[in-house]
Amino acid sequence: MTSVCIRVAGANGDGVESSGAMLIKVVSRDGLHVFAYRGFQSIIRGGHVWNQVRIGDEKLYSHGEGIDVLIALNQDAIKNQKSHLNKGAAVIYDPDKVDAKELEGKYRLVGIPLLDIAVKVSGDPIMRNVVAIGAALKIVGIDLDVFNDVIKSMFTRKGEKIVDENVKSAEMGYNHAKAEKLFDLKGDGRSRYTMDGNTALSIGAYASDCKFYAAYPMTPASGILHWFAAHENKGVLFKQTEDELAAINMAIGASNAGVRSMCGTSGGGFALMTEALGFAGMIEAPLVVVESQRTGPSTGLPTKTEQGDILFVMHASQGEYPKIVVAPRSVEESFKIAVDAFNLADRYQCPVIIVMDLYISEHIESVDGFPLDSVKIDRGKITAKQGDGKFKRYEFTADGVSPRAFPGTPGTEFIAPSDEHDEYGNLVSDAFSGIDEYVEIRRKMQEKRMKKIETMLERESVFAPEVENPNAEHFLVTFGSTTGPAKEAVEILNGNGGKFGLISFSYLMPMDKGKAKKILEGKKLIDVECNYTGQLAYVIMANTGIDIEKKILKYDGEPFTGEEIAEKAIALIK
């Protein structure tokens, strides 16, 4: 496999984001694979931002290590990015604006009067980015025709002049870099979709007939909010709420009324949602909640990644009730998990929390497509027929799942109470608690709810980790977004004569203890997570008694790369 990392770096407002987006579109149309990750801050103008676009001729699982081609849009880009340059890297810059002398002799300097060309071609200084992209394409071996096709489809509605200016600017850059071709990336000719995890998750929810999304803006979950807002004319209702308390309680109200509903936030917002999470557990309302983690504690690093919230999420809200916690391992899996989450929520009438993080929520990946034919919608036990006015919404059943009815249906009226209740939904809390008959009802009702955990473990096959290379000598153990980089680490390690395998979790709660133990037992394990304490290792120990002593932990806000994990794994097994 060949892969190249192109990094566009500059200040907010320099068009770093849009340049990256243009590059991503061009290469994915050419049948190449993309994995892109942004470095940005909570600032609207200024600061130092970058967009790393990694391009490969095979599927990529991380944003890659180091920079092969740097597009330095300002002096800061040289200063902040030089330590990341790979051996033999090319640096595209504007000698009129940026001094790259310190890099002379060490890297291939491709100085092009970007601004001068841009102003001459279009009069628009921002077109300097397109000139630079043209040069970058030449360096990595991508044909200019591909670029021209993409530009036509992107800008035709903006007019021929815009198309011409873009084509001309790129061509000038391309020609300037004529002698600089360093790579020869060849795509398979298949045009792919490119999207981030938030988009894949939103599409999964949409395909599952989720019609209601409520949220308060919070990075890195806001992408889901923007997706639903943009599709309000396509059969979904999005409500921006006054706070996260309102977001989750609206979603619960809508779900109880019969509509598949979701809410989403990051850790801080989730903290506000926790009381209502138990409320959904108590009234047995199906509910999908997205928690996209960022670096904590507290406000932390709002634009950086971490996997530090899983224990918090797993134990959120007072008391005990069934809940499902799952962390998608890739952009593609975010779609599938959204689909499964709605079915699980309806089948077991409980909250399902999809734990994302900034890395998976916001990195862009090329995607072949989604298996729409495998999307089956299962609303669970719904009583469709008219009742006799004595509906046991919380009926004691063998599997713990009671029949549900949608408000509006005649004869199945019921009250959904946050207080403990009997089979009809009548309170046993205020007037009756402690009286023998009601002590018994409370015990049975708690057992009924908790029984659903046993039932789902019995009926569903998803609550155990997956193994790759089962006969390997050492195993990396991961969950969620760290799985991609770990997969790459395994490839690197085995390419150098190692015998490594991977054990990865998406579903974290409940856990099929027997299956998990069987998979993990007797193996040499290395826990890899983006947090300080090794929260997955803690969960594994609690469920299986297996204590993974070797750990690779990262909590500096940056996601792992495959190389980084491979290097640390080697050091650990020495």
Binding site: N233, L237, N249, S261, I377
Partner: protein, 296 residues
């Protein structure tokens, strides 16, 4: 004959559950008024959703045979809003207390009002925290002594009518549970009104509030209708909203303070142009492919 019986059955709004309220509690009067309003409006019980928070008055859904949610403290407004947005064919009524609505859930009230979501929110205002055995409330009057304010309240009370009107409520009324007939008319008006209706009800707590009793209210309250108050005039409505404070509670108006017609949230949300969400068909394969294709 059979159809008539069925209609009668549907109008039987009582669940038969005995309420938890103390003898003489104001909430009995509110219960009677809500039942009268529903009966007169002839709404089938399966199309009614009563949502409460936590507190004595939030036990209201339990005594009804309609659909209902007994939600969390302070969260009845978002839960009711979610239910209404999912199925705006339902008549959604919020029932809670002053602590729930003006204290812990105060933020939601303001936003529900400006959204003009078509729900009727009845706040049983006893100016105290009853179920937690008598602490101060956001509507307690200055100087009022409670377990949490043994030296007297030193904060201004919330002004429910002024708050609701300034936040954008399109129906703002105040009733007295000692006059359930009058209150039933206000609730009927609120349910029939298209938009957010706040009905604040003086509902005395006979156990923990010995200042603001039925006897305290009776000589002070008067009905706005008798003064021919023009409830379409926002300035006059605001003027009336401050009359109790201005007169040091010598004159306490009840009745309809303000009413105006404005499109509801459901009228304006593009997602609801094809009817209630719950009745809308599922997303088709073509639609799903379309949203995927946007990412090429």
């Amino acid at each position: 004959m059979e159809a008539k019986q069925e209609a009668k059955q549907r109008q039987n709004y009582s669940s038969g559950v005995k309420p938890i309220w103390c003898p003489g509690c104001g909430d009995f009067g509110v219960n009677a008024a809500i039942t009268k309003a529903l009966t007169e409006l002839n709404i089938e019980r399966n199309n009614v959703m009563i949502v409460s928070g936590i507190g004595c008055s939030s036990a209201m859904p339990q005594v009804y045979s309609t659909y209902g949610v007994h939600s969390l403290h302070g969260r009845l407004v978002p839960v009711a809003t979610g239910a209404k947005l999912a199925n705006h064919g339902l008549t959604v009524i919020g029932t809670g207390g002053d602590g729930d609505g003006y204290g812990i859930g105060g933020g939601h009230l303001v936003h529900a009002a400006r959204r003009n979501i078509n729900i009727t929110y009845i706040i049983m205002d006893n100016e105290t925290y009853g179920l937690t055995t008598g602490q101060t409330s956001p509507t307690a009057l200055m100087g009022h002594k409670t377990k949490s304010t043994p030296f007297g309240v030193i904060e201004m009370p919330i002004n429910p009518m002024a708050l609701a009107i300034s936040a954008g409520a399109t129906y703002a009324a105040r009733g007295f549970s000692g006059d359930p007939m009058h209150l039933a008319e206000l609730i009927k008006g609120g349910i029939a009104h298209r938009g957010f209706a706040l009905i604040d009800v003086f509902s005395p707590c006979v156990t923990f509030n010995h200042d603001n009793t039925y006897e305290w209210f009776r000589p002070r309250i008067y009905k706005l209708e008798k003064e021919n108050h023009d409830y379409t005039d926002i300035s006059k409505a605001m003027d009336k909203a401050f009359e109790d404070m201005r007169t040091n509670y010598e004159k306490v108006p009840i009745g309809l303070f303000y009413k105006v017609e404005r499109p509801t949230y459901e009228d304006l949300d593009i997602a609801l142009r094809d009817g209630p969400l719950i009745k809308q068909a599922g997303h088709t394969k073509e639609q799903i492919l379309e949203v995927i294709e946007e990412n090429r």
